[in-house]
């Protein structure tokens, strides 16, 4: 169980069904709803939407503590609890941290740093990578790594794959594979198009695979010593890291994933005062990242990052404008044609999983003329993920997403390096470990095949 609805608390308003892209929420209006796990993609949008809270008036004085216990939520939590909720793995994290034999490595997704402050009263979309690193360090992780680094690696792998498919005549269009809910959705509903999916793993899994191999090597450890934790804006990442195939190194790429909200709970639970945390750095070398890595957090970000690098891969020239604005935006489906030398690369960006259906149907009907399509399940990409700080009022939603998006782009602009292939950490990885993108080892560790339903 990754995402669930508590039958005792659900009022049956079916507002969650409105936002569920997978039509997985079932039940009569006014009656408690259930999630059809065969359909559910675990995106957590229902969790974000649900306002049916555990109420003293409706459920009694005792209910709150009882529900908290049931859900494995730290005792210290006092905030409202709702009918729709995701799994909480903080107990596993705490256990690993307490285990002296475990070398704990944590990675943190790009969208976490533009949102977690909100749960401590910061303004919406406050950019806090420094505090985030500091908090993780105080929690006691041995290595504070960053998913932005494997995001840069993803670009190398996926970008190379794309160039190959385009130039050598592979299956097109190619879809991105970094959104696990999208991958799950395709597996559930369109297994026949699996070859269109990039074989590259998601940044979380790439990071996990590297930390337990090259990373372990650097720290003089083995993959068995390492306990790998990821902090994700996403409820589905919990599912993804548990997928059976995600252990190509012989060890699970990622041992446990928690959400942004889980991390906020953990910080509070440990009595860490967010407001007074200093700005700190992520650890070397896998804490080094480029602007391209960080924009993975917003819709169109993967595409933009891929184009920044792909342009140079194909033409040998730097892209004229690093801000690839044609692929930015928040519309559910956007298309652009990017001139890369002689090649006119036709790309599409889908955000909000419901919007992918007409795209797939068009593709199957042969009316879709695109090379590369980014798909993100959540409304505006990972910044609006199911594991992100939850808004008390939907009226603030648009403002929150916009602020988180803007903070992401600000972060990108202010970073010294903005293209994945320029990252010294990426260079180091290929120079010292993988040799080159899509190398045999890279393929073994960082690529996978899906549809193992």
């Amino acid at each position: 169980m990754i995402v669930a609805i508590d039958q005792n608390i659900c009022t049956g308003c079916r507002e969650c069904a409105e936002v569920c892209p997978a039509f997985a929420i079932e039940g009569d209006q006014g009656k408690p709803q259930t999630i059809n796990t065969d359909r559910c993609v675990m995106c957590g949008q229902c969790v974000q939407k649900c306002k049916s809270y555990v109420s003293i008036l409706t459920h009694g004085k005792e209910a709150y503590e009882k529900v908290k216990k049931e859900r494995n939520i730290p005792d210290s939590v006092t905030e409202p609890l709702f009918a729709a909720y995701p799994v909480c793995n903080l107990d596993k994290v705490k256990a690993a941290l307490a285990d002296p034999n475990k070398f704990t490595v944590v990675q943190c997704a790009p969208a976490v740093r533009v949102a977690i402050g909100e749960d401590f009263g910061d303004e919406l979309g406050k950019l806090t990578p420094g505090k985030l690193a500091a908090a993780l360090r105080r929690i006691g992780f041995d290595r504070i790594y960053d998913t932005n680094f494997p995001a840069d690696v993803t670009i190398m792998e996926e970008g190379t794959e794309l160039v190959k498919r385009v130039t050598e005549g592979g299956v097109l269009p190619m879809f991105t594979s970094c959104c696990p809910a999208w991958v799950k959705y395709m597996e559930n509903n369109y297994p026949e198009i699996k070859d269109h999916l990039s074989s590259a793993k998601s940044p979380q899994q790439i990071g996990g695979a590297i930390f337990k191999t090259f990373g372990a090597e650097i720290d003089g450890k083995t993959g068995a010593d390492i306990y790998s934790v990821s902090v994700m804006p996403c409820t589905c990442k919990v599912f993804e890291c548990g997928r059976p195939e995600m252990k190509d190194s012989g060890y699970r790429d990622v041992d446990v994933a928690i959400t942004t909200r889980d991390l906020a709970w953990l910080i509070k639970d440990l009595g860490i005062d967010w407001a007074s945390l200093p700005e700190e750095e992520f650890d070397q070398p896998f804490g080094i990242y480029t602007g391209a890595g960080t924009i993975f957090g917003v819709t169109g970000g993967v595409m933009e990052a891929a184009l920044r690098t792909g342009y140079e891969l194909v033409t040998g020239q730097p892209i004229p404008n690093v801000d690839v604005t044609p692929v930015r935006g928040t519309e559910g489906f956007r298309k652009a044609i990017i001139k890369i030398g002689d090649l006119e690369l036709k790309v599409g960006v889908v955000t909000g999983l419901k919007n992918v259906v007409p795209v797939i149907e068009a593709m199957k009907a042969g009316t879709l003329d695109l090379h590369f399509i980014e798909v993100m399940t959540c409304p505006e990409g990972c910044v609006s993920g199911g594991g992100q700080p939850k808004l008390l009022m939907d009226a603030d939603r648009a403002e929150a997403y916009a602020a988180r998006r803007e903070a992401t782009f600000v972060h990108d602009r202010e970073l010294p390096l903005r293209k994945s292939h320029e990252s010294p950490a990426v260079k180091k990885l290929y120079d010292e470990f993988l040799e080159e993108p899509n190398s045999h080892l890279a393929h073994h560790l960082l690529h996978t095949s899906y549809c193992i339903k």
């Binding site: 306002k51 006092t78 909100e118 401590f120 808004l391 008390l392």
Partner: protein, 187 residues
Amino acid sequence: MKKELGSFVIGDSTKCTGCKACEMACFTVHNQGSNHVGKTVGTVTVPVVPRLFLTKFEYGCMPIQCKHCENAPCLNACTKGAISRIDNQVIVDPEKCIGCKDCMQACPFGAVTLLPYAKDGKVVAQIGSNETRVFASKCDLCKDVPGGPACVRACPHEALRLVDPEAEREEKNIKAAEALLLTKNWR
């Protein structure tokens, strides 16, 4: 012209899905200052105490809230002077409320309920006991909230409406008169 009557918010059970967005918005705006509630759930440290109450009944559900009665039985019942009329609205002063329940009994709509009282991000304990202090929680029409009643704005289905009784009466008068024009019913 100065308004003579208290406005109020009214729910529409034909539109309400029971999502409680109204309750949550109500709680949020009333605790932004006093209890440091921000925009996300994580900033909440006190129990959710709404001032309107989503009510399920045999034919559906709708929020029930204070009508700001002009001879408010709650106000007339309150011997502590904790309920007063400010700018036409019936307002509870939680500091003065002793939780006697007289107002709850007096209100024919069930629009007042005793709920935990929190201040500065913490529930307040009673003097002389560790029990939580309570207060008569009821709609104050978001008197201090810019933009007016939060519940109305929060509802995803426009199932809540702010009623200005004087303006609405006039509108209905006009509608009734102009309906005559369509039917020529007087001839």
